[in-house]
Symmetry: C3
Subunit: 215 residues, 3 copies
């Protein structure tokens, strides 16, 4: 992890968010292909699931915030999602990958999207509770869409601290920003917290209590 | 029912719609928790379903009408949905509630959302057929989303006059508005009709004929 | 096919797109009713599925492109979808229609929507890759929504060159437009290619290879 050694304050916030969003798009497209690959989808169905997973969360965030949808005017995002999806397809088709490989890009994608979603909402002046929810929406909606398209109950609804990790990171980012910390460091701290909670939850099987109503 | 005794003409239309929308958000969040509680969701999954049920219909309406999404700039809606969802969670967890309790808030939510959706569409100059559909969308889409997230065929597709009640109320509201009746009274009449049809349909098991194509 | 004998260059592009979109709305509403008719939905559920199939693709395109949603300001679209849906309902209820009748309107709808979606994206200056994806989205999203509402895995994910046909047609339209061909002829060529590939794929059972990841 060399990231903390880079002078985060010197990177313009636009450049930082752009890089974070591209990385998030790529790993989420990969997770979409891995999930769709467990179903009898054809190549195009798989591409649709990959695009939905990669672009769904940010699209919903932008539509709700009434911003220009991030991948419409700049086709680098779309190209990144397509290439990442096809590369994953090729890898999975010709190699036997360990099932656990899915876990890390998915957690990294959650962290990246939470950060970019929260900061995008802040940048249009959304109040803090809404901004934190936008971080969560950006982080988890792609995965919800991926699972709905595969016709299964979204994994995040009973998994290991998925949305919870996203929300905790978004709140940390917001608290640090409110305390005057620069955007780069706030993003790093918030994103790291998401990753930490999610990976620890997977490792130690932390789950929120499952709730079933008395009938 | 003390409502008719209040001088509805004296209440500014904005205040009226704000109160109606907040009440609709609260009861729909409660219905989301009650529905999600029948599945093995964790606390966060339940919150997601509650928010989707409470905010989904109005969000779709605002996105389609290209208005600012109602809960983005004013976080009172989001807080109301969260608190109503958590309160319902606490109630259901520690008390044995009769199953039928679900029915009344759901019908009231349908009536409130139909009214607020129709009037919001009118206020941006949508033609009447579109405005009535926006009332129905606002009324039923939260419930459709709730059911899709729980991976079941939406209840409204074969229930007791659900969307039909919503549409009838929206049309009555539009007719009264066109006839010069004030917004408050038109809202009360339209909302009451929704509630009346829905509750009567539940009581007497009125259903639209089920249609199955010859194969 | 008399269409090629009409002087396509003489028709204003707005008129052409309007007619194409209305025809697409009508056939997609019909396909929604035919699909919903295989489930125990009531009349209203069926109308909802018909409207979602007819208006869903174009709505998603317009929301993503931040245009005014096409059926909001002009209720002719909504009326067309409703009438086409109800007419199909009446036909299917009182006649025994061959199952294969579903295939042609669905393919024509795909072609029409692909063309109108691609040209709408071009008209707001979207880059070509985004414009071609918008053609596909407009063409296939209504069908995805229809299938999700019926709680089944979208047919397009493992059918006979559905989205592929749409994408090929969108790319041809874009190439011809870039080469200076008029909008009318580019639309005709692109739409015909969609129809040709889709019908040939159905006839000869061309499918993309189905991909299943090694577990």
């Amino acid at each position: 992890m060399l990231v903390p050694m880079i002078d985060l304050d010197a990177i313009p916030i636009e450049t930082l968010l752009y890089g974070i969003a591209l990385a998030g798009v790529a790993v989420n497209a990969a997770s979409g292909v891995l999930e769709a690959g467990r179903r009898p989808f054809d190549l195009f169905g798989m591409v649709v699931v990959a695009l939905a997973a990669a672009l769904g969360g940010g699209s919903l965030r932008d539509v709700l915030l009434d911003r220009t949808v991030f991948w419409i005017s700049d086709q680098v995002y779309l190209l990144t999602a397509l290439l990442a999806g096809l590369a994953t397809f090729a890898l999975v088709r010709y190699m036997r990958l360990p099932a656990r490989l899915f876990v890390l890009p998915d957690a990294v994608g959650l962290a990246l999207f939470t950060v970019s979603g929260t900061q995008a909402a802040l940048s249009v002046g959304a109040p803090w509770l809404v901004a934190s929810l936008m971080g969560v929406v950006t982080g988890v909606f792609g995965g919800i869409l991926r699972d709905l398209l595969c016709n299964q109950v979204p994994l995040i609804f009973n998994g290991e601290l998925y949305a919870t990790a996203s929300w905790a990171g978004a709140l940390l980012l917001l608290a640090l920003s409110a305390a005057g910390v620069s955007a780069g460091w706030a993003a790093l701290a918030g994103g790291s917290l998401v990753l930490l909670i999610r990976l620890a939850a997977l490792r130690y099987r932390w789950c929120l209590p499952v709730f079933t109503a008395r009938q």
